[in-house]
Subunit: 616 residues, 2 copies
């Protein structure tokens, strides 16, 4: 950096500090001290290294900047002001206020923000996905910068991220760690021991660069070194929390606290007062991504014949293989691709198949990163193990990105592996996520149709699949709109409605056969779409059968199919007499049929519940 | 090891291999090859290092053995046979069958199993909690051994565990990594690169020991070295998957597959055939834990006066401080103790306060480990961030241990921090967990009573607390049974029931005031216990008010208070006309009052919904 550059970057850093203080004190909330520690890092990055066309955030060649330490939003928004995309008025009068784009933690409501952050360890993991897109799919040289706090490095997901960045050789990935030594409630575990962090970073396959985070020249060289490295890089910057405001520098008790007005005034004056420096970032060179999405590419869905015995997880894999015809579709695995059948995609499109090993958090986060670049990610593991990544799914819902998840081995149906492998809480957790779609098909044909549909759907989709093979019940001409339900069996004499999804649809059909032996005619409804749910079809069935409904699910009682159906019926103005069969208590080992029975959700239980409704 | 010892340990290893093959082939399922790779490690450990009184698994001095790679259950159960606590018949005829203790993955239904494993990265993290108990609380010299797979080391939670074991100087913690190079679907990321693992382990504060995992002498020395280390130790054992059965050794495609009968027969014969060696483990020396639980110790709950403005999170902290009088109560923090108010406990009992830094997974896992040793752990973070640890909570539910969680900063009520910090899915996910209790008190008095109650409650409890301060509405003489609800306002003229919990109880009370201005009298119910739920009180209120109910929650619509109430009412045989108000769509920044209104759950919305019910 020339002396002139040095001076102007220092001026920018001062402005970023002043603005971080001003906007937080104005609203009386926010994290100024966590912003002040990283101001010098950002001043150098934005003016000299980040190749970004601020006027056109959609340009594919732009570098990416992710504030994984989302609480440093005052600094990010001050940067936005300095590059001219956010006005002083917006910064000073809207930050953290109702209706503002400048929220307490960044969300993609702002066009320069890729993903929502604020839950620590999320942004840096998503950055792996963007870097993967750049290196392996787009094949254009954008870089991905993420800013982490040092406290944040206690999250295991950060190490999953560094490990995978190293494994995939993502030399376009740079994390800057703002090592300011103080967390929310006191000193961090490792303090300013940069060597300790460096040993960890190097051991996880990344190139560590230790610097004084307030030395502009050193910061500049570090970014050069990072760009030149043949590996992902992690800049470990020793910084001072509150840097630039001596009264709070390196002092505990100032985390997440706006400076009082008088202190802010003194601090701003000492920093030279407000300014209106406008800077530009280096522009990226024009480049064309190697992959052009083609969402209209026709897909030939796999065909299954009625009566064939096929697992829905196999149909999931077959459909992924069909979707491979669309160049934007990518698939992620957490080391169970031969169980989820994701590996069917690997057979036909290995270049777009990414192995996350057993890192479910990273798998979901990387999916989000790939979605940022316009790819359509499908990620699968056992439904039970998506619970490991639940915060990442939640944050994806806040980002409102489009990712597609498939949880296999649902419920007690899996058999002898036992309760640790059984997804019995997934419908509840996935239904609760913002912007989510939750599907649970019962046969191969409907699975294929629904998996193909979600590829075009926005938001978080979750498809629950079953381990065992069950008969195909639908013909290939059948349509399965998301938000629909199928009346699988009906007659004018129906006395009760049996509602199931997935394996319990098959049990409900078998229960209807049992009831027929007693002369009881049952309507059977396949509620394959839990969210959105087909209130119309469900309500019509309920009304037509004297409000008698048995809903059965291979899931714990709370938050799943039963409560979804009940809510839909009551919202439709009905007064259902509803018996809800769900898994009670802890399951164990056994055959699928034994465990369905043990859990109280087998055909016999359904038939018995129906008889009880009718006789009362 | 003397030549005699060596020979007898080798014989045991052969038997463990034979039994691992026999029990899996007999049932046609399970993971023999993942058991064979670790048989030598276990043979040495169990005969020469694990100090364990197999006749008395409750002895506090016993070492602990955790199969974090729970799928190697055939090996664990073969060990149980070899030490004489499981019969050959039980092993051969019950493994993985209905009603068996010997399930596909270990659970504490077996007295020698501390915790359920099978979701990878859980056991090793829980081991930190047990080691912490030994070192910091019991102060007796038991050791904690956990067995991990190499694939498992991709889970970030493993590194959270090693980091905290190092931070707390847990020299009684030893993890054995069975580096057999093959995961479920192919080679692991690092293969047999023990040096790469060792660098990571050392950087995370543990002592790595690299050995050939089939060299009995080397294994023996490694355990000696681990016992003598002044730090936690990680034994990195290079092993061969399927070791002992040349036809499958180091071959892909044999994960989780029982050997076919003919291959099993050949393999067993080559290993010398079945045997019935019985071994003993070294006995632990008598020792007395430094802490004796005293659950009957009288607690003086904090007192709050009606009308005072107190945050329920503050009442949580105050109550923890009161509970400190019981020596078995311990508190864990994930670096937000000054927000959750867990730090009130730290002020009075710092020796029983454990900082997990920002590692929510480790915090929950360590809580489980502490519970194994009879401690009563309370762990808190923002409710939103328990989503990070959801798999650990799920697995705790399968272990049926007793841990107590408190999620603060619930809902949009938190204000300007924005959606990433808002718990809006926690009630759904926590209700879905096996053996869970879910509470959401609205004032300081009820919070104190409920937090004190859960200290004596088994299973997973979750108390949701609120950021802001609200009026105390209950007197100190009021009782709050778990599973209860309070009718806060009622009269014979009530035309509608308003049900709330937490902040929405206050909004419901305010709505009742608004309705009173229109001459509408509303009953108000505080549904502070979501699971179990007070069907009787809710049904009585519903029936008394013409079935008109407005239930309001600061949570997404699925799986929370609304669906819990609806299920309770319909199960009670009622036909409620229920309007469910919940957070719709994405929240943002603003004041608490603004965001409640923006989300559609404020007093005005409640009053409007009540009017609509009455006028229809």
């Amino acid at each position: 950096m020339s002396p002139d550059d040095l001076e102007s970057v220092a001026d920018l850093a001062r402005q970023l500090r002043v603005d971080s203080i001003r906007c937080t004190t104005a609203v009386g909330a926010g994290h100024p001290t966590s912003s002040l520690s990283a101001a010098d890092l950002l001043a150098v990055l934005v003016t000299r290294h980040l190749r970004y066309d601020w006027a056109d955030p959609k340009r594919p060649e732009n570098d990416h900047l992710i504030f994984s330490k989302g609480h440093a939003s005052p600094l990010l928004y001050s940067v936005f002001r300095a590059v001219g995309v956010v006005s002083e008025e917006e910064l000073m009068t809207t930050y953290r206020r109702l209706g503002a784009r400048l929220q307490g933690h960044p969300t993609p409501i702002l066009p320069w923000v890729d993903l929502a952050t604020g839950s620590l360890g999320v942004g840096v993991a998503a950055a792996v996905g963007i870097a993967l897109a750049g290196k392996k799919l787009d094949k254009i040289p954008y870089r991905v910068y993420s800013l982490c706090g040092d406290s944040e490095l206690a999250e295991g997901s950060v190490w999953e991220a560094f490990d995978k960045a190293g494994y995939y050789g993502l030399s376009n990935f740079t994390t800057i760690v703002d090592v300011n030594r103080l967390g929310q409630r006191g000193p961090t575990e490792l303090g300013w021991d940069l060597d300790a962090y460096a040993a960890r970073v190097a051991a996880f396959g990344c190139h560590p660069i230790e610097i004084d985070g307030h030395d502009l020249g050193a910061i500049d060289k570090a970014f050069d070194e990072a760009s030149g490295a043949d590996r992902p890089s992690v800049i470990l910057a020793r910084t001072i929390k509150g840097k630039g405001v001596p009264e709070v520098e390196d002092k505990n008790g100032w985390h997440g606290v706006a400076l009082p007005a008088d202190l802010a005034e003194r601090a701003i004056a000492a920093l030279g007062g407000p300014s209106s420096i406008v800077v530009t970032s280096p522009k990226p060179e024009r480049a064309i991504p190697a992959i052009t999405p083609d969402p209209n590419e026709e897909i030939t869905l796999p065909h299954y014949s009625i009566g064939d015995s096929v697992a829905t997880r196999k149909a999931y894999g077959d459909t992924l293989a069909a979707l491979a015809a669309r160049p934007e579709v990518v698939v992620l695995d957490a080391e169970v691709g031969n169980s989820t059948h994701s590996d069917e995609f690997n057979k036909v499109a290995p270049d777009r198949y990414f192995e996350a090993f057993i890192s479910e958090q990273l798998m979901v986060a990387a999916s989000c990163g790939l979605a940022v670049r316009g790819y359509v990610p499908f990620a699968a593991t056992f439904g039970a193990f998506f619970s490991r990544a639940f915060d990442f799914v939640r944050m994806a819902g806040i980002s409102e990105v489009s990712i597609h998840l498939a949880g296999s081995h649902a419920g007690v149906e899996i058999g002898s592996d036992g309760p640790s492998q059984m997804a019995l809480e997934d419908l509840a957790s996935m239904r609760a996520v913002n912007d989510s779609t939750v599907l649970y098909p019962s046969d191969a044909t409907s699975t294929a149709a629904l998996v193909a549909s979600v590829a075009n759907r926005s938001g978080i989709s979750y498809v629950r699949t079953t381990r065992g093979s069950y008969p195909v019940i639908y013909g290939s001409d059948e349509e399965f709109p998301i938000g629909g339900a199928k009346v699988v069996r009906s007659s004018p004499a129906d006395a009760v409605t049996l509602i199931g999804a997935g394996v319990t649809l098959h049990e409900s059909l078998a229960a209807a056969d049992l009831l027929a032996q007693d002369g009881i005619v049952a309507r059977v409804v396949d509620c394959y779409s839990l969210k959105p749910i087909d209130s119309t079809t469900l309500a019509a069935a309920c009304a037509a059968t004297g409000n008698r409904v048995v809903v059965t699910e291979d899931h714990y009682p709370a938050g799943g199919l039963g409560e979804a159906v009940l809510s839909a019926l009551v919202e439709s103005g009905l007064s259902p007499r509803l018996t809800h069969l769900a898994v009670s208590g802890l399951s164990e080992s056994g055959t699928p049929a034994e465990l369905l029975d043990h859990a109280g959700i087998s055909r016999n239980h359904i038939a018995e519940a129906a008889r009880a409704l009718i006789s009362n």
